[in-house]
Symmetry: C2
Subunit: 459 residues, 2 copies
């Protein structure tokens, strides 16, 4: 009987476990998870803080018992993997019951990511990370106790923005959003997020842009009092660190597994690491960018699930599965709007050695005369495409507009980029049209058309 | 100075005119339109009958004066083309002012489609077609006069269904929907529209399925009294004929221009007809199916606009443009739901000589825990893919679900089919994910995954 062991039980880990079980019904499949819960939707954590989602448990797709009883997967929450011994094919783990060694035939590492930590300083209470069940549970308890009045959120990437918005939605809190860059939402060009600062302010959040955290203020072991920054001291009762993630690779590194250029665990198309029989997937693993072909580390939930499936299928050792790589696709609802991006930006394309140009359009989401009819949200989308003038290939796309109206366009761009489509292929796609559901010419098609005119005019 | 003449001023015709003007700023561009208005959104006509759109004029993208004054296009409403004389490059037209000959260097035929007419019988009042400004204006006037209490809509294709729904939404009317086939909404498999009959009934519409119109009852020259059908007589004060369209080809045929196998005007990729210098576009023209490669006639508004652009650019004689063909993509909101299809159905694929199989899934539009948050409409989508087992190529897709939640998935399928993607390409597309905006695995990806399992299991 084959013995498949998986370290990590959130997105990639549980996908790997479910897939391994499916293709190898007779195998033994065991999952070690450090935290108290498995298979939860980490992307819903801000909703819990906002109070829109009542219980953390609502984020759980399936409870531990479901996996044990319905799927025959041995799930062990509260088990932290401490060491991998590839030579003897075993893992040392710690739980409340003590330490033990678990053997495996094939191993999947899905240890995820952790917050890039803040400058060293005193250990203080009410300093939280944003990305785990535990941390959000503790933060919520602190908020509910009433002792928190001022919160500093560090980092205005999509997680920091979602967190700040969620905290503002609770009401009664003074929310500060501290960001090192000049513009929020990394991965988007400045002109595509120009609307954001006003929306952030309208939500009652104070944005400190171009501001670096120097030190956390407070007595060792006591409560946080404030955040010393390059722009002065911001008084705060609590801090939520959304200041970037890094791959959780310590366990793999100590086992002699190679990291890639990006600093995440190097894997091949089958998600196998440098050690035969050991796979890695999700936020701890490097992957290949589908447009540039370069090794990248882009931690996002959907890709983690896909990689987990591939790792699980290969660990089960039946038919080989391959993961074709990521596009860095991100969609996030913020302040009633939706922001999305995929593929390469202009500077990313140039860094990858490609010639690149961009075209931006602003267009309606549907026919104006259908006002009020059910369908896609009404309003305008701003959409930018990045393309390669020499080949006319579509390289990437960024867009923003009313919440719910952007993802469809973005997914067409994802598909077109993945297929290596050229501007002329995109221009005349026979996309769905109905006046309440879509515009006659989709913004993506208008952008492709305009880009072709620009390309023709310059040759 | 080049002289470009266009017959027809709705979708394809006005697109051709605008494009010709753009690429050949010095050319003379003239449009002849039989009806009173040009450049209107025919897809919005049901909304006018429903009363949701106040005025027919609201459907007009740009008035005649805009084209004349802003774009320098000579638009002539109320001008009917009677004859094309290709040898002398001229067209005879009739207007209130009488008949005249107009010469051209290049001609675009965009005469559209007309309703397939009902069985011969007495000429009766209150018998209308559904697809033109004139007819809808007259029907609305009749409805507003109060003399209509019972309306029979003939044909439960998407136009007939939209019309019946719109008439029911007016209130105070008894609406009968007469359909020759057993199931409504041609182009969709029976299992994909199983929900429709109950929705039609809940809207207060009486569906007569498997019912053929035999005769219209009433005294010659007088009012319609009823519709004699294969299922008996249905009393009715008015009839709206949505019983299928056919291409308006009479003018082209008389000029010796060849029709294709489909019965519409044959054109090449540049939209040129069998006569050099004469182009055709939109609902009067045949086109190529992008998946099967077969010549087809599929009259739909978005494709008409695209073909018009291509015809206009080529008529202007600068850079050649090519139209890559249609996918038969249709999306329509009906009774709070949305129905969409693209590409080939199973039987269409087999008729085109391909092996074909289908897989259907039912899946959530977004994460359950985001209930109430802004984003894509909540609910479940039912989605069927058609694929070719021997090549694993995606051939087509049908889907239905909450209004506004289907088009995005459908457009990904359009793009994937156009690119010739295989199931494994679709399965791991890095599509946008955010819990309020999309599900972790899109229905299309789940379907591709399941189909791959079926394919693997059978080999």
């Amino acid at each position: 009987m084959e013995n498949i062991l998986i370290i990590g039980g959130v997105a990639a880990g549980m996908s790997a476990a479910s897939r391994a079980r499916r293709v190898a019904p007779e195998a033994r499949v065991t999952v070690l998870e450090r935290g108290p819960a498995v298979s939860y939707g980490a992307c819903g954590l801000p909703g819990v803080l906002a109070g829109r989602i009542q219980r953390l448990e609502d984020l759980v797709a399936h409870p531990v018992e479901f996996f044990r009883e319905q799927r025959g997967i041995e799930v062990r929450p509260g088990h932290e993997a401490l060491e991998i011994e590839p030579g003897r094919r075993r893992v040392r783990a710690r739980s409340e019951a003590g330490e033990s060694w678990l053997s495996y035939d094939r191993l999947v590492i899905a240890t995820g990511a952790r917050s890039r930590w803040l400058p060293a300083g005193p250990r203080l209470r009410h300093v939280y990370a944003a990305n785990t069940w535990d941390q959000v549970a503790q933060l919520r308890a602190a908020l509910e106790s009433g002792e928190i009045r001022r919160v500093a959120v560090v980092g205005a990437g999509y997680i920091g923005l979602e967190m700040a918005e969620a905290l503002a939605q609770r009401g009664g809190l003074e929310v500060h959003l501290i960001h090192a860059n000049a513009t929020p939402l990394r991965g988007f060009d400045g002109d595509m997020v120009a609307e954001l600062p006003a929306r952030i302010a309208a939500a009652g959040i104070t944005l400190h842009a171009g501001c670096r955290v120097r030190e956390l203020a407070g007595p060792e072991g006591g409560r946080l009092l404030g955040v010393a920054t390059s722009s002065g001291v911001i008084p705060a009762d609590a801090l939520v660190n959304c200041g970037g993630l890094r791959p959780e690779t310590a366990l793999a590194e100590r086992a002699g597994i190679l990291l890639g250029r990006s600093g995440a665990i190097a894997v091949d198309e089958r998600q196998q690491t440098s050690v035969a029989g050991i796979y890695a997937a999700g936020d701890c693993a490097e992957t290949r960018h589908r447009v540039s072909g370069a090794p990248v580390w882009i931690p996002l939930g959907a890709a983690a699930n896909h990689q987990g499936r591939v790792a699980g299928q290969n660990a089960a050792g039946r038919r080989a599965a391959r993961y074709p790589g990521v596009m860095g696709t991100l969609a996030v609802p913020l302040f009633g709007l939706e922001f999305g991006r995929t593929g390469l930006g202009e500077s990313e394309a140039r860094a990858a050695g490609m010639d690149a140009a961009a075209t931006t359009v602003r267009a309606a989401t549907r026919a104006a005369y259908m006002r009020g009819a059910p369908g896609v949200p009404e309003g305008e989308i701003t959409l930018k495409i990045v393309y390669q003038p020499s080949t006319r290939r579509l390289l990437g796309c960024q867009a923003w507009g009313p919440a719910g109206a952007v993802t469809g366009q973005l997914d067409v761009a994802v598909t077109a980029c993945s297929a290596g489509m050229k501007l002329e292929d995109v221009e005349h796609l026979d996309l769905a049209y109905s006046p309440a559901l879509a515009p006659l010419y989709e913004p993506l098609q208008i952008a492709a058309h305009n880009a072709l005119q620009d390309t023709a005019a310059s040759t």
